[in-house]
Structures are given as structure tokens and as C-alpha cells.
């Protein structure tokens, strides 16, 4: 019963939020948020602390009540329903496992209450423990498990009653780096296998990019952008999104018309045309900046110098200063092999290319 056929995210709205606002005293936590989540989708709320993402999750769970706005889940208006009458499972950063109950009793906690026959409960718990990869943990206590194992149990407990919606509140933030990476993949795989509509809250952009079907970037109580990880990364809708998700170069520029922009003393071609004289900012990811050692540079490369090299393992981060544009140094990511093979060092002359399609122009 748990292993439903894989569901591909589709457009049929499972959850619809409309004009949600919430105030805590003078603080406006949510300033009118509207959003639709499709059935079987994994949506990640991403943003800095205080952006309202956790408040929004708690409102969906009925743990807080929105001041205004409505929530419809699976065709049912749940705006005013108390938490206990809604249909969801939830996992918290702190795991919130009951410390005095065994793993078995923790997972069975919601099942026992439904007056199911004992055998059915036992079977279901075993099934879930197997599903999260801890089939033999039943007789242990939460305190005897590692953080990652406890979070798997919390997930099993949340899924036990087959809820229509799974809510994950920073589920990986309390774990160490290695467990975090492993559990990230496991949660995503499990979610896709069960096809359960899932909302996850995180402040970790890498987590969001790797797990989400769609990312909702939030800032100061508003939604900045909703899109697939690729859209959010490559086509940030606002300067905030560009800055918050991944590293990015920002170049203050003035339009010269026809997609050309003046940046300091050089001109840059982009795919976006603005009226001449308009001020704008050009955003470019470090890995899009082309760095060419002398001799291999294409004709249109801008002459530049290496200002510093930072070794980061698989790749190197190179600081480059374009001649005549010393005020705005750029950062470029190049593979380690390239940095090593070309013998780059601070002060070396290089040619820099800024590919027009990769440049995002924002006001």
C-alpha cells in the first residue's frame, strides 16, 4: 500500500494558498503570499532566517493561524481548521521523537490511535522501518540512534498514517555534513517513490537546488520567485534571488542600446535590450566567466590580470581584473586541472570572455 506507482509532478493543484498574511505584534511575517503546489510535487521554501518560510509552513500545518487569506488542500478549504483536523505528516529539525518510547512505539504512535488491529499496526511499522532503512531499530530508544537515524524515524512516523501532505521543517539542519548529504538523497528518493506532495523549508540553497521540483524563494515576508532549480539559478527574477542562490558577479552598467552595456571603460554584449542610458546591473555566474591564457584567447576576449587564486578542491576560484575596469573585479570558477596546467599565478595576464546569453540584466 505504501509503494504507490511513481507519480510525476503535474499541474493539478493539490494545495492552494491565497493572499496569506501574518503579523506578530509589529512584525509583518507574511505580507500577502499566494502559491499553488501540484500533486506529488516537492516544493522547497528557501530564504534567509526571518523571511517567513517557517511561519508559512506552520500556517499550512494549522500550528499558526494566518491573519487573512485562505488555504485549500485537495479541494477542501482548511483555512480555519485546527491542526488535528488537517491531513499532513510533519518532521521537525529537532526530530521531536518521544524519548521514552521505543522506535517501534514512536512510529506506531499515530496508528495505535486509529484502533487498527495490532497485527496491522505491527506490519505497517515494520514496512516503514524497512522503507527508511532501519528495519532492526524497533526495540531501541531514540537516544540510542544517531541524528540521521532519528530523523529517518521521524520521517517514518510522519508517513505512517499515509498523509496527503508531508511537511519538512529544516529536517537536515541539525545533522552533520555527511549525514546531511546522504539523507538529502534518501528523502528525495522516498518522496518520489511514494509520490507524496511535500513542502520543505530550508535556508540551505544547495539543499533546495538538489531536492526541489520547484523552489519558492522568500524574503522579508514575500515570495521573490517561484521556479525550477534551474530557472531560479540561471534566470533569477530579482537581485535578491541572484545574490541569495549561488555565487554571482554583479557589474553596474549603463545601457547603450541594442543589447550593449557599458561597464566602466569596456562594453559588454548581452541578450537583453534596454533603452540607451538606462542604468542596470549585469549578473553573471562565476562558472560562466571564460578565462583564457595568452595565445588561446578568442579575438573578442577582454584583456585582464589575475588578482588572486583560491584553491577549492575540484575547482579554483580566480579573481580577475579587466583592464580599464579596476573598480569591479570579477570572480571566475575554473576546473583545477585548467588552473594547474596553465600555471596561472597572481599578476598573470589573461583574456576574459563574458558570454552574452549567460548574462542576466536586472534593474
Amino acid at each position: 500500500m505504501i509503494v504507490a506507482p511513481p507519480v510525476t509532478p503535474n499541474d493539478s493543484a493539490f494545495l492552494r494558498l491565497a493572499d496569506i498574511t501574518k503579523r506578530f505584534g509589529q512584525f509583518e511575517a507574511l505580507k500577502g503570499v499566494s502559491l499553488t503546489v501540484g500533486r506529488g510535487e516537492l516544493v522547497v521554501f528557501l530564504g534567509p532566517s526571518g523571511c517567513g518560510k517557517t511561519t508559512l509552513l506552520r500556517i499550512i500545518a494549522g500550528l499558526e493561524t494566518q491573519d487573512t487569506g485562505s488555504i485549500v488542500q485537495d479541494g477542501r478549504d482548511i483555512s480555519r481548521l485546527p491542526a488535528i483536523k488537517r491531513d499532513y505528516g510533519i518532521v521537525f529539525q529537532s526530530y521531536a521523537l518521544f524519548p521514552n518510547l521505543t522506535i517501534f512505539d514512536n512510529v506506531a504512535y499515530g496508528l495505535v490511535n486509529r484502533r487498527q488491529p495490532r497485527k496491522a499496526v505491527t506490519g505497517r511499522v515494520q514496512e516503514l522501518l524497512k522503507l527508511v532503512g532501519l528495519p532492526d531499530a524497533g526495540s531501541k530508544y531514540p537516544g540510542q540512534l544517531s541524528g540521521g537515524q532519528q530523523q529517518r524515524i521521524a520521517l517514518a512516523r510522519a508517513l505512517a498514517t499515509s498523509p496527503g501532505l508531508l511537511l519538512l521543517d529544516e529536517p537536515l539542519s541539525a545533522l552533520d555534513a555527511i549525514e546531511r548529504l546522504r539523507l538529502r538523497g534518501e528523502i528525495r528518493a522516498l518522496q518520489q517513490r511514494l509520490g507524496v506532495t511535500t513542502i520543505m523549508v530550508t535556508h540551505d540553497q544547495e539543499e533546495a537546488l538538489s531536492m526541489a521540483d520547484r523552489i519558492v524563494v522568500m524574503n522579508a515576508g514575500r515570495i521573490e520567485q517561484v521556479g525550477t532549480p534551474r530557472e531560479v539559478y540561471s534566470l533569477p527574477a530579482t537581485p535578491f534571488v541572484a545574490d541569495f542562490v549561488g555565487k554571482i558577479n554583479v557589474l553596474p552598467a549603463v545601457s547603450e542600446g541594442g543589447g550593449r552595456f557599458r561597464v566602466g571603460s569596456v562594453t559588454v554584449d548581452t541578450a537583453t535590450t534596454l533603452p540607451a542610458g538606462t542604468s542596470a546591473r549585469l549578473y553573471l555566474r562565476p562558472e560562466e566567466v571564460g578565462v583564457h591564457v595568452n595565445g588561446t584567447a578568442p579575438a573578442d576576449a577582454l584583456p585582464a590580470r589575475v588578482s588572486k587564486i583560491e584553491f577549492l578542491g575540484a575547482f579554483c576560484m580566480i579573481g580577475v581584473v579587466i583592464e580599464g575596469n579596476e573598480a569591479a573585479p570579477l570572480v571566475a570558477n575554473v576546473p583545477r586541472q585548467f588552473a594547474d596546467g596553465s600555471g596561472l599565478a597572481p599578476g598573470h595576464p589573461v583574456g576574459v570572455t563574458l558570454p552574452a546569453p549567460a548574462i542576466r540584466v536586472l534593474g
Binding site: L63, T68, I84, N113, Q149, T161, R222
Partner: protein
């Protein structure tokens, strides 16, 4: 782009969402409201009764502040205020430094025997405050062994009150200061060491500031205790008048409830001030706390350790001499003429005289107080901390739970008479019953128990209730299946605290007992009054034994729970 989500200012605001309240939430809020009402009835009711009585004359007519004017016009009564304050200040000035050095020795030295010293220093908690007075009378009284040491000064008076109060308050001060010193951060001392800070400077720049709030809190507790205590001055005070005695005289002696109400309001004032000072200081302390603090581990220093050992040994010996004299008195024939061993005080004084029934009354009362008090206090704290909504009820309960600390037992007791003995009060049937003794004792010791419960509940994960709701499990099931088992050590601690205090309490209940419900501590008072000091000592000894047994049982049960049923507390394997 970000302006898309902004609501334009011209649009009328959407209707405010009013959440449906589930019946379980209503149940929780209803229960909390009931708890709040009970607290108001059994705490505020009596206090209001005192206020009302203080502005009335004997016939119940409103006379404004006339009673107060009469009171302050009586020199003897005015003198009581001064007496009360200077005695309490002296006790505070001696007890707190003495307890601080003791706690310092326990935490900052490597002297041997720390556990034994600590246990001995805490024994006064197990005894009624009267025990020390009886003991000091035996040592320094008219027929005392060491009477000559005092010269012409009499133990019956301020000296006796001060000595007995120091003995009785020492463990209270010690526990508070000890906690403050234990909270200190070892890393601060390591940093100071690396900067070659001299020892005295470390003491004045790290130790004292760190213990500052604990010292203030201890001072306020000792001061309040001494001001409020009635047993000690009654037994050893002689003709020395203090406020607590004045209330007793006005109420029991002259049946002047109006004047009694006035005096109790005067008594309430210094305790209230001490309470507010403490509250204000505790509020400022929060930011000091660091969860990453490393406990301080003292190094061996021969002379310092020796000095500390000598100090603690002296204090412990003195305490044992006080307790020992009371126990000894109960087992000899007739002080100081016939010192042969005898059980006659127990046999003739207590059993044959029928006074022993008051000991069983005390056991019964302490048991009821521990069981029902703990249940009520913990349930109320749970509803307060872990359920949603009921905003103003929660504020009211928080305030009501804090008030008892600021109300001396005499004041509470008098309030109970005035409130429950009022002809129009349907609850008057409770007057002079076991029930009212239990109720007044629970209220009297409410604040500390409440704080213990709240601390334990705050240590639980905040999301247990949210998880239960998402799994559609009613809150009360989670309360019984998770909250209570996890908080069991704190619950038992509250039960022990209430039991031990109920065994020794006297100030509130002295107004409320009937011949059928006389309590052990009150019996001591009456035996002492009748000159039966041997029997009084025997009763005090019985109380100490009962309380000690309960504490041992508590220690064993807690240990059993920690090793068996709470095996989940085991350190993580992975």
C-alpha cells in the same frame, strides 16, 4: 519584480481569519481556566478578605485607615516592626556569607568529605524550625549546659531567635548559592590563569560577579523566611515582640481579627519588597547563561583545602550539636537531673497523652499535599506551557503562581480564617477540616513547585504537541504517555518538596486546625507551652525521621527510575 506580491494600499483589507477551535483545545482551555479559578479562590480570596477586614471595625463597618492609625499609635506594636526588621537583617547578614563560604568550599576546593558535609548542612530542612529553638534552650536556657557562656544575656529573646533562624535558614541559602557557584564557567578561570591573574582578583572579578544573583536571591529568601517564621520566636522569643507573634496574639489571644489583618498587611510589606527585588534581579540574569559553559574543576591547594575543611567541619559539628541535642533530649528522663536513657517521652508524653495522633495527622496531611498538590501543580504548569490559546488566562495563572512566594504563612493562614470562616461563604464547611490544611499548604508552597514543573516542561521538545496533533492523537494521551513519564524525576521532586514542607509547616496551619486535625508541628508548640520539652523534642525527632525516610525513598525511587524505566536516558551509542 518583487513588487508583484505587494498588496496595494488602496485595496480594502481582507476579512480576518477566525480559526475553528477544536473541542480538545476548548477542553484544555477550560481546564486551565478551572485551575486559574481554583488558584484565585484559594489564594486571592483569602488575601482580599484580609484587605477588607483591615479597613473594617469589629462590627464590619467601613472605617477606612482607622485601624492602621490605631496600630501605629501603639508603641509596643511599632516596636515589633523595628524588632522584626533588625533581627531578620542580622540573620541575613550572618547566614548568607556563612553559606557562601560553605558553598565555596564545596565547589572550589578539593577537601575530603564534601558529600557528608553537604548532607549534614541540609538536615535542618527536614526539621520543623522549632526544633532548633528547643535545642538552643537545652544548651543555653535556664538549665542549659552552656548557659554560663552567655553571661547575663538571656537566650530567650533576640539572641535565641537569631541563632535558631540561622540554623533553620542555612540550608535554604546554601542550596541557592551552591547552584549559582556550580553554574560558573571553567573557561573563564582558564583564561584568567593564562593571563596570570592572582587568586584574589579571580575571586572578585569572576567568582563574585557570577554568584551575584544567587547571593541576592539567597539573601531575600533568608530575610523573608525569618520575617515570616512564627515557630522560632514563639518558643524561644520570650517577651521579645515581632510581627508574626503580634498577628498570633491579636487573632488567637484577643480574637481581634481586624487588628490581626492590619498587622499581617504590615508583615506582608517587607516580604513583598524582598520578593520584588529577587524577581527583578532574576529577570536581569537570563543573558548571562551559556549552554556551552564548561564546569570548573578545582586544583589541589593544601592550605586552602585544609582551611575550608576546618570551616566546614566546624559548621557541620555545630549543626549536629543542634540536631543531636533535640534528639538526645527526647531519649533522656529529665533534663538536667536524670540523664538516663528512657522512652518515656515517646510512651507517656506522646502515645499515652494521645498527642501521637497529631503525628499521624501530619503524615496524612503531608501525603495528601504531596499527591494532590503535585498533580494539580504539574497539570497546571503543563496546560500553561504546552497548550495553545487562552492568552489572558495564562498571564493570570503565571502571576497567581508567583504570588505565594511573597505571602508569609501567617498572612495566608489568617486570610484562610477570614475567608472560609465568613458566615456567607458556602465553602465554610471546609473550615477546620483536613482539606483546608492541605489546600493552604499546597498554596503556601506553590511557587517553588511550579517553577520546578515549568523548568522540566521547558526542557521538553516544543514540537511534541504539534507532532501529536499531526498524528491526530489527543493532547491528553500524549500528556500521559510522554510528558508525565519524561518529567517523572521532576514530578517526584515536587512531591518530596511538598511532603517535607507539609511535615514541618506551622505558620499557615496554626490558625486552621481543629482538635481532630492538630498537626505535629503545632503539637510541639503546645507541648513546649505546657513545659513538656522532652515530649516536644520527641515529636520533632519523629518528624525528622519521617522526612528523612521520605527523602531516602525518593532517592531510591529516582535511582531505580533512572536505571530501569528511564533507560532511554542512556547515552547515545552511535
Amino acid at each position: 519584480m518583487s513588487s508583484v506580491a505587494a498588496s496595494s494600499p488602496g485595496v480594502p483589507p481582507l476579512p480576518r481569519v477566525v480559526p475553528q477551535v477544536h473541542w480538545q483545545e476548548r477542553l484544555a482551555q477550560g481546564l486551565l481556566l478551572a485551575c486559574c479559578a481554583a488558584l484565585a479562590l484559594f489564594l486571592l480570596g483569602p488575601l482580599v478578605a484580609i484587605l477588607v477586614k483591615s479597613v473594617q471595625d469589629k462590627d464590619g463597618a467601613f472605617v477606612g485607615l482607622l485601624q492602621f492609625r490605631e496600630y501605629f499609635a501603639t508603641p509596643a506594636l511599632r516596636e515589633s516592626i523595628w524588632n522584626t526588621l533588625w533581627v531578620a537583617t542580622t540573620v541575613t547578614a550572618i547566614t548568607v556569607p556563612a553559606a557562601f563560604v560553605f558553598a565555596y568550599a564545596l565547589t572550589r576546593s578539593r577537601m575530603p568529605g564534601k558529600i557528608v558535609f553537604r548532607m549534614i548542612a541540609l538536615t535542618p530542612i527536614l526539621a520543623p524550625s522549632l526544633l532548633s529553638s528547643i535545642s538552643f534552650i537545652q544548651w543555653f536556657g535556664t538549665q542549659g549546659v552552656l548557659k554560663h557562656l552567655l553571661g547575663s544575656t538571656s537566650i530567650y529573646g533576640p539572641l535565641g531567635i537569631i541563632m535558631s533562624s540561622i540554623y533553620a535558614t542555612f540550608p535554604h541559602a546554601l542550596m541557592i548559592v551552591l547552584t549559582a557557584l556550580l553554574l560558573s564557567d571553567g573557561r573563564l578561570y582558564e583564561a584568567a590563569e593564562s593571563l596570570r591573574t592572582p587568586t584574589w582578583r579571580k575571586f572578585f572579578t569572576i567568582t563574585l560577579p557570577g554568584a551575584k544573583y544567587g547571593l541576592v536571591s539567597a539573601a531575600m529568601v533568608v530575610f523573608s523566611y525569618t520575617v515570616s517564621d512564627f515557630g522560632i520566636p514563639k518558643v524561644i522569643g520570650g517577651n521579645f515582640n515581632i510581627l508574626a507573634i503580634d498577628i498570633f496574639k491579636q487573632v488567637i489571644g484577643q480574637q481581634n481579627f481586624n487588628k490581626g489583618a492590619v498587622v499581617s498587611l504590615v508583615l506582608l510589606l517587607p516580604v513583598l519588597v524582598a520578593f520584588l527585588v529577587d524577581w527583578w534581579m532574576q529577570g536581569r540574569m537570563q543573558s548571562q547563561f551559556s549552554s556551552r559553559a564548561v564546569p570548573y574543576v578545582p586544583k589541589k591547594k593544601r592550605w586552602f583545602d585544609l582551611a575550608m575543611f576546618v570551616y566546614c567541619a566546624t559548621v557541620a559539628t555545630l549543626m549536629l550539636l543542634v540536631l543531636g541535642m533535640a534528639v538526645y533530649t527526647s531519649f533522656i528522663k529529665l533534663w538536667p537531673y536524670d540523664l538516663s536513657f528512657s522512652l518515656r517521652h515517646y510512651q507517656f508524653g506522646l502515645i499515652d497523652g494521645g498527642v501521637i495522633s497529631s503525628f499521624f495527622n501530619s503524615l496524612e496531611m503531608a501525603l495528601f499535599t504531596a499527591v494532590f498538590g503535585t498533580a494539580f501543580i504539574f497539570a497546571t504548569a503543563y496546560l500553561l506551557e504546552k497548550t495553545r490559546g487562552a492568552g489572558w488566562t495564562k498571564s493570570a495563572v503565571r502571576l497567581l503562581a508567583a504570588i505565594p512566594m511573597a505571602v508569609p504563612g501567617m498572612v495566608l493562614g489568617l486570610g484562610y480564617i477570614l475567608f472560609f470562616n465568613h458566615p456567607d461563604n458556602p465553602l465554610g464547611v471546609l473550615y477546620q477540616t483536613m482539606t483546608i490544611l492541605v489546600l493552604s499548604t499546597v498554596v503556601h508552597y506553590y511557587t517553588s513547585s511550579h517553577l520546578t514543573a515549568v523548568t522540566a516542561l521547558k526542557a521538553l521538545d516544543n514540537e511534541f504537541e504539534a507532532v501529536s496533533a499531526s498524528l491526530k492523537v489527543p493532547f491528553y494521551k500524549t500528556f500521559f504517555r510522554v510528558t508525565v513519564p519524561v518529567c517523572l524525576p521532576a514530578i517526584l521532586d515536587i512531591g518530596r518538596y511538598l511532603f517535607v514542607n507539609a511535615m514541618v509547616t506551622i505558620s499557615a496551619v496554626v490558625f486552621l486546625y481543629s482538635p481532630d486535625t492538630q498537626l505535629a508541628a503545632v503539637a510541639i508548640l503546645n507541648l513546649d507551652e505546657a513545659g513538656e520539652i522532652g515530649a516536644a523534642a520527641a515529636m520533632a525527632t519523629l518528624i525528622v525521621v519521617a522526612s528523612t525516610l521520605v527523602c531516602i525513598a525518593y532517592a531510591l525511587v529516582t535511582r531505580f527510575l533512572l536505571t530501569r524505566t528511564q533507560q532511554w536516558r542512556a547515552t547515545p551509542i552511535a
